[in-house]
Amino acid sequence: MSALPHALDAVSGIVGPRWVRRRRAERETYASDGLPTLHALPAAVVLPASREEVVRVIRVLAHHGVPFVPRGAGTGLSGGALADPDAILLVLTRLDRILAIEPDDRRAVVEPGVVNARLSRAALPYGLQYAPDPSSQAACTIGGNVAENAGGPHCLKYGVTTNHILELDVVLPDGTEVVLGSPGGEAWGPDLVGLFVGSEGTFGVATAITVRLVPLAPAVRTLLADFDALRPAGEAVSAIIASGVVPAALEMMDRNCIRAVEASIYRAGYPTDAAAVLLVELDGRTDAAVADTAREVEQLLRAAGARQVAVAREARERERLWQGRKKAFGALGRLSPDLIVQDAVVPRTALPDVLEAIDAIGQRLGLTVSNVFHAGDGNLHPNITFDRRDAAERARVEQAAAEIMEVCLAAGGTITGEHGVGRDKLRYMPAMFDATTLGAMRDVRRAFDRAERANPGKVIPVHACREWRTGGWADGRSSDSTASPSAHPPTRPPAGAVSVEGGT
């Protein structure tokens, strides 16, 4: 007999019956995250309210051998927060207290359910901010950001989540409590904080997170440059980075995306006849210094082929430009019933070629692919709009997604820069990593969770072990995934050999 009913009864005694959602309709609310193509119905949804409750719940689940999936706001884009019918979804949004803001040490301590934007608002009176700013920052939680090692536009200058996490209070999957890192961020032993960040909920649950805060820049300028082709826009990105200027953000949107934004309530005044626009944000100590840098960047943009360069000085102007960028996914969602947001990274210099290749894939398969992404990091987000009720179109979407990954890997890139592997990208993992490396990753997972009960079936395609070890294609998706298999596995070129002494 399954241990699940007994476990749920015990869990209900800990968090209260109101916070254990068992009815199908209630569970349906949590059956997807931000990726609409994947769907899984958890056995139950449990919403603890405190660290103590999390510890007790996890110990009960460990005792009964029940798998669980930690979840924040469910804004993830890789199917990482889906739980199968034999697993509990552990939703952490009720742990939403900001425990401390310590401006003199430039740090804050928060619970995992604190919403990203709320933390920055709370730090604002001290002239500080929490720098990682994913597009979903109005909803996503710091706990989710830690799980996924989330990025955002301003990570170009200020770094991604892993660069801002100092210390973590963690409940391991067997219910053991550990503290990783130290109050100031110095590692206490091997860097287990760095290992935990981005582990997608497979190592346990962070119940208190100490983050670094950074000062707000007093002076900011945002430039909007438009181009009549993708290639010069991509080349402008490399020119800016190579110049030594480090923008706070450097974002690109293509024509499809521009038009979607301009046709929505989020319209920002982007030129709809442009093939691409670049948003470049510069910040610094004084208006004069930032203005000088802005003039230099404007020259670089024009030299690369920008038709026009507009400079937004006032906060309201800048907010309008950024609203278009940050709400682009929402604007794209208006175009069709469904939207998938892909995530890959390529070397910055490969952007022009890769963008053209993605465009060609979309055209060949009769799909609308829109690009809005962190160009300064080479972090692409091709968005494909479609209707999931159309099986043929859905198959083409899956094929396009696989081909896009193949193009990015062939360019020396990676299959995800900030959304994580989750369930969606499992199928590409054997193309990224050889069997030995995947095996080592599994070893690491088992050091934290010997039974592999925390977020099972994510990150590492363990079920396809035999297939990948023989060098063939591995489909690591679990059986309830609704995604279609890819037509062809992408392949990654061998790493370049390092030349001897002196090099190339």
Binding site: E102, D105, G127, G151, G159, V160, T162, N163, T176, V178, V179, G184, E186, A187, W188, G189, P190, D191, V193, G194, G198, P215, L216, I241, A242, G244, V246, G284, R285, A288, A289, T293, V345, V346, P347, R348, T349, H374, D377, G413, T414, I415, G417, E418, V421, M432, T436, T437, A440, D443, V444, R446, F448, A495, V498, S499, V500, G502, G503, T504
Partner: protein, 408 residues
């Protein structure tokens, strides 16, 4: 196995031309020329139970560490594959840091990392110790500059993570585990690094005074919302003067640096002297050189608001006369000390720091001290089990000589 037999076995494995020599203590020292050779060596060592000590330029590892075999990364000298346009580089870990810097500079690029010790220390020693210098204030730790690496595990598996892109969250970040683990999980043979364009302006401001006065300068700069590339306190010995020193380094475009310089000067309650060019470079390098002049080098992770207390602890347990090399990266709350204290004093210091939740890492020390204290000492509760599990996974035969936790 007798040492002579071991050398014969090594030649059989790697060929007669393989770089194998014998240390003054009679221990074979082998320098694999490729990742594959390194993997072959460690696979064999693991199977046969040879204890292996991994070294680079041998300025950071104790020469008296007991081992059946010294594996040195000296022959892993590829410093190529610099992409100036993408600002990434790939290098092998036996390359001296100063060689790398020159290679990057030839491409107009810069690794935003300075570290205590001689300029010729190997890249691998940086990775093993995760040592950081003053630039940590503005650019973070070495782990923040590492985009990926190849690790040969203790049992000879070749694990490759990350690559030549600046963001990557595919799979677990095993690079974080490898960096700063003193070689406990294996030998890093190749690393991908994030570079930056050489700053167009680079300026240093220096002030001197009593310890708490220069600390006040640093605090005032932070309170002004500034985060310089470096904001470092130095003991008289570290700065080679007769007073405590605060040094501020500003990098960026000319306009940015000019604006920051004005803000720093305005915030500072004491006058600051400007140093530029070769003079500034020599100032910083001389300070860094001193970090390995004495037998022990350690770092302690406090908080910016706890630095008086941290400095008092050093004076109480390690350096009452304030004669030793000591530097503090104020924005990070990190303190580095180098001196000749014995194990008992180091243990007392570490215990006092642990009571304040500050980790103390012994970066280098004589073997007996390393063995007794461990590089990290006692972990926080529950962490030892994790580290032990990870070590077993990467080095199942336990051949890698790397005392992480202590044996007081």
């Amino acid at each position: 196995m007798a040492r002579g037999e071991l050398t014969t076995r090594l030649r059989a494995l790697l060929g007669t031309a393989a770089p194998i020599e014998t240390t003054p203590d009679g221990v074979p020292r082998v320098a694999p020329r490729t990742t594959a050779e390194c993997a072959l060596l460690l696979r064999t060592a693991s199977a046969d139970g040879w204890r292996v000590r991994v070294t680079g330029a041998e300025t950071w590892t104790p020469p008296d560490a007991p081992a059946d075999l010294f594996l040195t990364t000296r022959a892993l000298r590829g410093a190529g594959l610099v992409s100036a346009a993408d600002l990434v580089a790939t290098a092998e870990t036996g390359v001296p840091l100063d060689t790398l810097r020159r290679a990057f500079a030839d491409h107009g690029a810069w690794l935003a990392l300075d570290a205590p010790g001689a300029p010729g220390r190997s890249l691998g020693s940086l990775l093993a110790t995760a040592t950081a210098g003053p630039l940590r204030a503005g650019f973070g730790l070495l782990r923040d500059q590492v985009l990926g690496l190849t690790l040969v595990t203790g049992d000879g598996r070749v694990v490759t993570v990350g690559g030549r892109v600046v963001k990557d969250v595919a799979g677990y970040d095993l690079a974080k585990l490898a960096v700063g683990s003193f070689g406990a999980f294996g030998v890093v043979t190749t690393v991908h690094l994030r570079l930056r364009a050489i700053p167009r302006a680079d300026q240093t401001l220096v002030g001197t005074g009593r310890r708490d006065a220069v600390l006040d300068v640093a605090r005032a700069i932070l309170a002004g919302g500034l985060t310089p590339a470096a904001l470092e306190l130095m003991s008289p010995a570290a700065a080679r003067t007769d007073a405590w020193t605060v040094a501020i380094r500003l990098v960026g475009t000319g306009d940015e640096v000019a604006a920051d310089r004005a803000a720093v000067q305005q915030a500072s309650p004491i006058p600051l002297v400007e140093r530029t060019g070769a003079d500034a470079a020599a100032f910083w390098q001389e300070m860094l050189d001193g970090g390995t002049a004495a037998p022990v080098t350690l770092r302690a992770g406090a908080l910016p608001t706890g630095l008086e207390d941290a400095l008092d602890l050093v004076a109480l347990h390690l350096d009452e006369a304030v004669r030793d090399w000591l530097t503090v990266t104020v924005p990070a709350g990190t303190l580095r000390w180098s001196g000749a204290a014995g194990p008992d004093a180091l243990i007392r210091f570490r215990d006092a720091a642990a009571a304040r939740e500050w980790p103390v890492t012994i970066e280098r020390a004589p073997w007996g001290t390393c063995l007794r204290l461990g590089h990290f000492g006692a972990y926080r509760e529950g962490v030892h089990r994790l580290v032990t599990g990870l070590r077993s996974a990467f080095d199942p035969a336990g051949i890698l000589v790397a005392p992480l936790s202590g044996n007081p």
